[in-house]
Symmetry: C2
Subunit: 197 residues, 2 copies
């Protein structure tokens, strides 16, 4: 691998695309337990960005597993590969000038670090959705906690598989204490403060 | 796989994104021998679209192999997986409202069919860059034909590995007879005719 490969510099640069769009690009990396609200919040942020004419898109853990990562299981090695590929796709979207939200449990620190290191300083924005597991379990939007408790799902994050909390996420949201509207507003404020918008 | 997965309908739809962008999205799938001009033409089309304020991006065979597909070799099974993943990524870009150009040899009919079938009618536009192998070999921009002739590259398309021509590509370009400008112009005319632009 690598020997017979040449890197093609795209004629249109990332900076050109930022100029066309009127905003910079970045990845909003939502991480947290199942039921902590990642997809809901990522889609709410995406909608708020769209309403402001900002080019954005959501990569969703559940959605992407029907396509790109349909060949991967939920075992640790495959979870790592799942996150690596999503990181690489997010990088392509950032290069294309979009704000890309990714909503995956992404339970391992090392895997998230691997993705962070794919990006330039300031492009990777980790958003940790904190929510007590009891609350996530009571929400249980897909009935997964129930199945996990019955032993029907092996290696379920928070029950039979660890969730490693981010040490220093760029944004920290307690989804059992804040409304979606407040959370979206905090994220947009961060993007403005960092001059991404 | 698949049992514990729910498809999340994105709040913002592809059609919403088309409205924001003022154009539809599609994939321009460039296929042809090494040296037939895929990357050059894909980037030229991308630049022409950019200059018209159209949201577009290029997935390049050589570039993507440094990232998403760095774990894949050039063997037949891996070439298939290479194309499958690129198709899935192209699909995400099309869903995000962009015109995505992909520039890969993609030598096998079945692999290209697999990608075509991921898309709705009219979204997958196959562009066959025809060029006699002697001309491609004389261009040899990366010195790969020279290496292949020396036996330093196993399974090189056109020499030790087959290239299966498209039966009915949407666009057919003889890159040894047309200038880049003419080719770009033909592709843009096609996009206008199909009301993508």
């Amino acid at each position: 691998m690598g020997k017979n490969i040449t890197w093609h510099q795209s004629t249109v640069t990332k900076m050109d695309r930022h100029t066309l769009n009127g905003h910079k690009s970045c990845v909003l990396w939502f991480t947290g337990l199942s039921g902590s609200g990642k997809s809901t919040l990522a889609n709410a942020v995406d909608h708020a960005l769209f309403m402001r004419g900002i080019r954005s898109y959501v990569l969703d853990g559940d959605n992407i597993r029907h396509g790109l990562n349909r060949d991967l299981s939920f075992r640790k090695e495959d979870r790592k590969e799942n996150i690596r590929r999503i990181g690489e796709v997010a990088k392509l979207f950032v290069d294309s000038g979009q704000i890309i939200s990714s909503a995956f449990i992404s339970p391992y620190l090392a895997d998230r670090e691997l993705v962070r290191n794919m990006f330039a300083e300031g492009e990777f924005i980790e958003i940790y959705l904190h929510c007590p597991i009891e609350v996530c379990e009571s929400r249980d939007p897909k009935g997964l906690y129930k199945k996990a408790r019955k032993g029907e799902i092996a290696e379920f994050t928070g029950i039979t598989s660890p969730y490693e909390k981010p040490d220093q996420p760029e944004i920290f949201i307690e989804t059992n204490k804040m409304t979606i509207e407040q959370s979206v507003s905090d994220i947009l404020a961060y993007l403005k403060e960092r001059k991404i918008l």
